[in-house]
């Protein structure tokens, strides 16, 4: 554990904890840069064009240039905005996204806070984002922003229900809400939760289809929670300009931007940590084979990043494939399909766990 190492190194728990809490940021900021680049490239290739090609080799410096531009831009605040809330909202949004990383294990050597209620902790802190969005929408004093914020809030609150139901299903199967324990136990591909988890006997095989359903439900609802296409109604350009962040610019906008990409990655790794073994390798570790034990956490981190990036890629893929839903369709999917499916799934799994 890096935390223990830091405590030994510095000798002060408070400082060690502070440094420990900074570590995910070191990962998220570069990730956001890369993700923006990826998004551009993916969209371009899906539309049969090349995307940015000029700045750097295949345009790899484009994002950095963008960041520089954002930092230099004048930070405009419209005159009738509610200044304090306008200022706090982006920070709160990023805080909400960032808090989720506290419970996500990056590798066996690093987890921000090894709390037992990790999974519902993540569900809880994501409600912070809702408040932040409402705050931003209201503080902007702009009809479109407010509408976007309210839509977004309704959407996130609704889609939290299927997420929590799937989390309950996981709790029934594994008996634990601790993501670290969960990942630690899924040591190889056959022990991944989507393939029945690390239980034994008939149970393990009987629940496989329901785990798959659970994963699909969870992916869809988390997608809606982070407002990605096809659920990006809050920021639908054709209707609401840019939703709650219409009035934002400069560094504050960058904050929202960062929060969005952090959120994307957070839900991706959440799904992978629950169902696909998290940081665990599906096969085994080179470190084990060649006998270098410090290599293992690094390898695990690689796997973690690969799985997360894969889901991020899937999100982008969906964004450029599917059309946007209407508001009523959005609510219909949640209340008429996802919630009943996840309840049924939960009940069936519970019965299987009891009966088999």
């Amino acid at each position: 554990m890096i935390y223990n190492f830091l405590v030994d190194l510095i000798g002060n728990e408070a400082v060690a904890a502070f440094i420990n809490s900074i570590i995910p940021l070191l990962f998220i900021v570069p990730f956001a840069l890369f993700a923006v680049y990826l998004e551009r490239k993916v969209s371009a290739h899906m539309q049969d064009r090349l995307g940015p090609m000029i700045t750097g080799w295949h345009g790899w410096l484009q994002t950095i240039a963008d960041i520089l531009k954002l930092l230099q831009k004048e930070d405009i605040t419209a005159s009738k905005t509610d200044k304090p809330l306008f200022f706090i909202a982006p920070i709160l949004a990023f805080t909400g996204s960032y808090m989720a990383f506290a419970a996500i294990p990056f590798s066996s050597a690093y987890i921000g806070a090894n709390i037992d209620l990790g999974l519902i902790f993540i569900a809880a802190v994501s409600s912070l984002v809702v408040a932040a969005l409402l705050m931003a929408g209201w503080a902007s004093n702009n009809k479109y922003s407010l509408l976007g914020a309210m839509r977004s809030a309704a959407q996130i609150v609704s889609y939290e229900i299927p997420t929590i139901l799937v989390i309950l299903t996981i709790l029934v199967v594994t008996g634990s809400l601790n993501l670290y324990t969960l990942s630690e136990n899924q040591t190889n591909i056959f022990k991944w939760l989507i393939f029945g988890g690390y239980g034994e006997g008939w149970q393990k095989f009987a629940i496989i289809p329901f785990m798959m359903v659970g994963m699909v439900v969870m992916f869809i609802s988390t997608l809606a929670e982070v407002n990605r296409t096809p659920f990006d109604i809050p920021e639908a350009e054709s209707e609401l300009v840019a939703g709650f962040h219409t009035e934002y610019s400069g560094m504050k906008f960058a904050m929202f931007f960062l929060a969005e990409y952090a959120n994307m990655f957070a839900v991706s790794v959440l799904v992978s940590a629950i169902f696909l073994g998290g940081y665990q390798s599906p096969f085994g570790y080179i470190g084990d084979v060649i006998g270098v034990s410090w290599l293992i956490p690094i390898e695990q981190f690689m796997w973690f990043a690969v799985k997360g990036l894969f889901f991020v890629f899937v999100q982008m893929w969906l964004r450029w494939t599917l059309p946007r839903l209407r508001v009523d369709q959005l609510m219909e999917i949640c209340w008429k399909y996802l919630i009943p499916i996840s309840i049924a799934n939960f009940l069936i799994v519970a019965f299987l766990m009891v009966l088999l």
Partner: protein
């Protein structure tokens, strides 16, 4: 002062200050967001009391549910754009007197009572499983009734708001 005390004073101050702000601000939206801060402070106090699960439920239900509802309520019952959502007080003086009297009584009771306190406190543990077992055994009836109540409230709220 150990870490525990520091944390306690921090959360207590956050809670009370933000609650005071809730009561005293004119702007309802500010009140609402201050209320969120209060909820966070209370959640922190729960954690200090070893009730992690309650703290998280507090966050999910209060911040994720009730607070959002309240903000929606504010936004739906006021003209929101281009005007400030302000609201005043009524009968401040009698209210202050009565609440002061009440506070005095409460204080008196808190100080006068002979609280039964265990000499040795057990270490706070999550105990989610214990809470679950209690819920479906001793409190099963209440648990079921609350489920029914929530359903009724859902239907009732929908039908009242719809009229």
């Amino acid at each position: 002062m150990d870490m525990y005390a520091v944390m306690f004073y921090f959360f207590a101050v956050v809670t009370i200050a933000s609650a005071f702000a809730v009561v005293s601000t004119k702007n309802i939206i500010y009140s609402a967001f201050n209320l969120m801060l209060t909820f966070f402070g209370v959640a922190g106090i729960y954690v200090l009391l070893g009730a992690d699960f309650i703290a998280i439920v507090q966050l999910i239900v209060y911040v994720g549910g009730i607070l959002i509802l309240l903000i929606f309520g504010v936004m739906l019952t006021n003209k929101i754009t281009d005007s400030e959502i302000k609201t005043g007080w009524t009968q401040v003086l009698p209210a202050m007197l009565v609440v002061a009297a009440f506070a005095g009584t409460l204080l008196g009771m808190v100080l006068k009572s002979n609280w039964r306190v265990l000499p040795q406190l057990q270490q706070p543990v999550t105990g989610l499983a214990d809470i679950g077992v209690l819920l479906v055994n001793e409190y099963a009836l209440i648990f079921e009734l609350l489920g029914a109540l929530l359903l009724i409230a859902l239907i009732g709220a929908a039908s009242i708001a719809r009229k």
